[in-house]
């Protein structure tokens, strides 16, 4: 496994805070700096495709994924993302080939996943201890292996977005129009759903089941208010996502705060959203 200490040294150097001298904080920061831009960029498309409920359903299947790993004695760090991927592609398949509305399809998957997870927890009392970790997330225990996985996903996901951002926007705007324009709608939708499932599962470890959707949606929502065009929306989402991650992590480590990291990050992002709301209201008043 490659040595990540130069990366950590760099982070400690760039963020010369007392709290950033601990290795686990440097690891957490590295993890968040990879997760935040990915979720912010994917979040734009989640908002565009109106898929936040989809993301919610995936995150709630996290616990079922972990339970499966424990039943078949496979490392839950693997079963969780793989299970999320299967659920995500399954939902997409159902959505495309069923006459039910998409929120109904997701609702069915959602309840099945939560029920399965709860059934497993009630059977194996030892699982209940892990439950809290998944509800609130725990970025501070991220390992080097997980960071390397994030790096790999980062490269794949960003290349996909760079190649398909325009077409994804097009499909989100109106899929019939995109299809008539000879864009491969189904392929884009499946790849997007797959990557979204993976990023959701990895984010569960960072901010917890309850807040994953916020990590995706809040930066994108703020970016919508700030941006005047679809191109700059991307940069705004990155700015909001990354700055919230850094600020949130630093604040949560302060003695006066001592709050959960995931929740703090989301709170900072929501602060950004309020600012963006003010900006867009002000802009509307001026043009009116």
């Amino acid at each position: 496994m490659p040595d990540l200490s130069p990366l950590y040294a760099l982070i400690a150097h760039l963020l010369p805070f007392e709290c950033m001298q601990a290795r686990f904080m440097q690891q957490a920061m590295a993890g968040m700096l990879l997760l935040a831009p990915m979720s912010a960029a994917m979040g734009i498309m989640v908002v565009n495709f109106r898929m936040s409920f989809f993301a919610d359903a995936i995150s709630h299947s996290a616990f079922a994924g972990v339970a499966l790993g424990l039943i078949f004695s496979i490392d839950p760090n693997w079963t969780m993302p793989v299970f999320g991927l299967v659920v995500g592609l399954g939902i997409m398949l159902m959505q495309r080939h069923s006459s039910l509305s998409s929120d109904t399809v997701i609702g069915v998957f959602f309840s099945a996943m939560v029920a399965f997870g709860l059934a497993m927890v009630s059977r194996e009392r030892s699982l209940a201890r892990d439950l809290q970790k998944f509800l609130y997330g725990d970025i501070l225990t991220i390992s080097d292996g997980q960071i390397l996985c994030l790096v790999a996903l980062f490269l794949v996901l960003m290349s996909f977005l760079a190649a398909s951002y325009n077409h994804l926007l097009y499909i989100g705007l109106n899929s019939s129009l995109a299809k008539a324009h000879r864009i491969r709608v189904a392929a884009h939708q499946y790849i997007f759903a797959g990557l979204l499932s993976l990023i959701v599962m990895l984010s569960v470890q960072a901010v917890g089941v309850l807040l994953v959707t916020a990590l995706l949606v809040v930066p994108a929502a703020a970016a919508r208010n700030f941006a005047r065009c679809a191109g700059s929306m991307f940069w705004w989402a990155l700015l909001v996502g990354i700055s919230s991650a850094i600020t949130g992590l630093l604040v949560s480590a302060q003695d006066w705060a001592r709050t959960a990291t995931g929740a703090t990050i989301i709170l900072v992002a929501c602060g950004w959203f309020l600012v963006s709301l003010a900006v867009s209201t002000f802009r509307k008043e001026r043009t009116a």
Binding site: A163, H167, Y170, L177, A227
Partner: protein
């Protein structure tokens, strides 16, 4: 006036689309029943019929959006698969999306992600196509802030930009006022002459059809009649598909049994 004199550009016999026994059923209900029809090459073909006649369904089958029995042959210009430009009836989209008309026109053509900006040559092209539909002033506007008629124009620019062999419009003038509709159809007539594409549109409005179509397909789950509008839109045909006498077109009042439109736009004084 170009609009009142639609001369077909096509040579007789040459087809752009051939529908052969196209049948669509949904939940046991027949929506289209063995529709066989031809769209002549270079024509402005209108599909007319009452609500629920399957007009939009036929277009969706053509665009491969729904499954159907039978076959649809689209004949291009020999080189590769024919390009279809599609202008939907009403673009349903998220109006809160910060997307400019410029970006909207570029996103199907540019590989480079929009976050790195729009290529200069594509921007210039967009302006040319917007000018073609008389909408160059919209380039920098947000697409969510456009009116229904403005969106129709931008959609037409987007469709034209694909250099289509076939332009498919689903009620191009829905939501556009009468004056706007007339201008829109005139614009289409001019562009069709300029570019030489085949135009296929679904239309509700009989005066528009008599003015702007060179070929009509009367549809009511089956093809009731097909041919040039003045010979096809007879009282008999219209009564059979719409089920009542249509006052708009009076085929008896003109020599040669040709139909004439009684809509206000045609009632101008002869020397105006």
């Amino acid at each position: 006036m170009a609009a009142t004199d639609p001369h077909p550009l096509s040579q007789p016999g040459e087809a752009a689309i051939r529908f052969e026994a196209v049948t669509v059923e949904r939940g046991g209900i027949s929506i289209l029943d063995a529709v066989t029809a031809t769209v002549p090459k270079g024509s402005s073909t209108a599909i007319i019929g009452p609500n629920g006649a399957g007009k939009t369904t036929l277009l969706l089958a053509l665009l491969d959006e729904i499954s159907y029995q039978g076959s649809i042959h689209i004949i291009g210009n020999g080189t590769g698969f024919p390009v279809i430009g599609y202008v939907p009836q009403r673009l349903t989209f998220d109006r809160g999306m910060p997307l400019t008309v410029n970006e909207f026109l570029a996103m199907g053509f540019q590989k480079k992600p929009l976050w790195f900006g729009i290529r200069r040559d594509l921007q210039r092209q967009s302006l040319e196509y917007l000018a073609m539909v008389k909408a160059e002033h919209l380039a920098g506007r947000r697409i969510g802030a456009l009116s229904g008629g403005e969106i129709q124009r931008v959609l037409l620019a987007l469709a034209l930009r694909q250099e289509p062999d076939l332009l498919v419009l689903d009620e191009p003038s829905a939501g556009v006022d009468f004056q706007g509709e007339h201008l829109f159809c005139e614009l289409l007539d001019d562009l069709r002459r300029l570019k030489g594409f085949t135009q296929l549109m679904v239309c509700h409005d009989l005066p528009t059809v008599t003015h702007h179509a060179t070929h009509v397909i009367c549809l009511n789950r089956k093809v009731a009649a097909e041919g040039p509008p003045r010979q096809t839109l007879t009282n008999e045909t219209l009564t059979s598909i719409f089920g009542m006498h249509m006052g708009l077109v009076n085929s008896r009042s003109m020599p040669n049994d040709s139909a004439v439109c009684t809509a206000p736009c045609c009632q101008r004084p002869p020397h105006a």
